[in-house]
């Protein structure tokens, strides 16, 4: 066990709704580890938990909101980001965190993702990317690699997937990172950095879905994905996110790709408001 997992005051139980356990996630699911990293990052980033507003959309990862003992919102499919935008702009002292899946954030919610990044809204988006729609039974998603088998691509996927770090970066995000759920310490650190970072931060969390996507793509056991992540992850901080494409069973580029300073939406809003109030 690592020092991080044993560290003092890093107990995550206080942030979990124990009265809602057991959770609905399958064994070997990657969402749990991502949630653990997030909950540890709250203390590590020294954020007041009373000021966190956690917003989820719909899907397996959409259920995160229901298990955390924070002000938490389980909203509509794809709309977690604009809901969080309203929360954050109405009460700037809040720390807005969006926790959702690849289908929710990038397919049905794709428009909101790119515009929140463009505006540099001060929020952290944690995207659990398991390459398929798990909750509805394993259909093809916006990140499914070419040739992947899903229930709606029985002959193999022929749609090119989104490269999420590249998409977030090109849209204007201030902080973009990718880790797999094997890289718990790195992921925890990335979420910490993202939550401290002013502006729009995005973390692509590569996660297994053993009983559904994994079963259809020759990785049916939880350990299959872990071995894959161990063997095929290439860590390169500062890498051009353009190179972060993911192919079926191919290499996974991980690291912090973007960490830049850019005025946030709130900065600009404050600037305009002070100008207006000077005139009035």
């Amino acid at each position: 066990m690592t020092d991080t997992l044993n560290a003092k005051n890093h107990s995550i139980e206080k942030y979990l709704r124990q009265d809602r356990m057991p959770h609905i996630w399958c064994s070997g699911c990657g969402i749990g580890p991502a949630v653990s990293c997030f909950l540890r990052a709250i203390d590590r980033a020294e954020i007041d938990p009373n000021k966190i507003a956690l917003v989820s959309g719909i899907g397996c990862t959409g259920r995160v909101a229901g298990y955390v003992k924070l002000d938490s919102f389980h909203t509509t499919h794809g709309r977690a980001i604009p809901f969080a935008t309203g929360l954050k702009l109405a009460k700037p002292e809040l720390k807005a965190v969006v926790f959702s899946g690849d289908g929710d954030l990038v397919a049905i919610g794709g428009n909101h993702l790119i515009h929140a990044a463009r505006r540099n809204i001060d929020m952290t988006v944690i995207c659990v990317n398991n390459f398929n729609y798990g909750m509805t039974g394993g259909q093809v998603g916006p990140t499914s690699p070419l040739e992947a088998r899903t229930t709606t691509t029985p002959y193999g996927n022929f749609e090119p997937p989104f490269n999420l770090p590249y998409l977030a970066s090109a849209s204007g995000a201030s902080y973009v990172a990718r880790w797999t759920v094997l890289h718990l310490r790195e992921l925890e650190r990335a979420i910490t950095e993202a939550m401290i970072k002013p502006g729009f931060s995005f973390i692509d969390v590569i996660a297994p879905c053993p009983p559904i996507y994994g079963r259809m793509n020759k990785m049916p056991l939880p350990m299959d994905s872990m071995h894959y992540y161990q063997e095929k992850t290439i860590i390169r901080h500062g890498a051009d996110p353009k190179e972060a494409d993911i192919t079926l069973n191919g290499p996974i580029l991980a690291g912090t790709f973007v960490d830049i300073e850019r005025p946030t939406f709130q900065d600009q809003l404050n600037h305009i408001s002070s100008k207006v109030n000077a005139q009035v």
Partner: protein, 371 residues
Amino acid sequence: MNGDSACAEGAISAGCRFFAGYPITPASELAERMSERLPQVGGVCIQMEDELASMAAVLGASWAGLKAMTATSGPGFSLMMENLGLGVMLETPCVLVNIQRAGPSTGLPTMTGQGDMMQARWGSHGSYEIIALAPISPQDIFDLTILAFNLSEKYRVPVLIMADEVVGHMSEKVTMPTIAAKDLVERRRPKVKPGKYLPYKPDADLVPPMAVAGEGYHFHVTGLTHDERGYPVMTVEAHDRLVRRLVDKIRLNRHDIIKYKEFQVEDADIIVCAYGISVRIAQLAVRMAREEGIRAGLLQLITIWPFAEQRIRELSLQAKAFVVPEINYGQIVLEVERCAGDRARAILVPHMGGSVHSPQTILEAIREATQ
């Protein structure tokens, strides 16, 4: 001042401090006014990427404690139905303004219509009740916008302002009194400490007190069927309990919510039942009918939903017929017909949209109704 601007001013007077919208004719002037005014009063105005996002942002802002509003028209109204349903389910106070244009689809974007009246009632999926108000002038939309915020805060439900292009774009004198704090309703906040708070445990009026984000309550809300803790419960019983309460908190309080005005109905045996801009045409038609010796009167529906069932039933005992002018091919007339039963006829005076009725058209229907 035009109706769109009067609506924006009414919202600010009501304490609205957040607006999220997307440009659409004929509601754009409302967003423009808000973008100018909100920064002056310490509020936030944001133009979102679409109407789905606008409605979602309004809900988020309300949960952060601000009074929040959006405004749109036909196609945008359709897009807002998704998160309107979430607003109903989470019991989120907010106001949605629809400056109606003529549909279906893109229809007549710059010209008037009243074709979204049933969509206002049933547009989002599932069983629910909602509040909708219909203004007839710029002054009226100013006043009704304040009422809309008050009702939404009181009953924790999205309130719809179902205006139309003519009301939105016409310019008339608007008196904007300073609204005293005692005339503004604020949502009930929890009286218990965090840890004891049950987000969906209702008070006697079936409305639960509402915590907002960032105050340590650590509440969870979900669009899933939920119990008093706000936790998802996937059972028939929990769904029955929740949906009944969401509906009943409006139905059982309908006497407080429903408003209408009457003109010369005391002795009327023909009653024109109108709403929105059509009220003003109907007033002319009723006057003309009276000059002809027809005992005509006018019932102006201010609250469209919940529907003024009881009043229509009562009037159906004295009236021979209701004449219902609508800028659509028959929507509210169905409700009038249902409530009037076989006691009085309900006669639709349809107008497909793009302009208002001529008073003569309504007058002719009144004459026919006497036969």
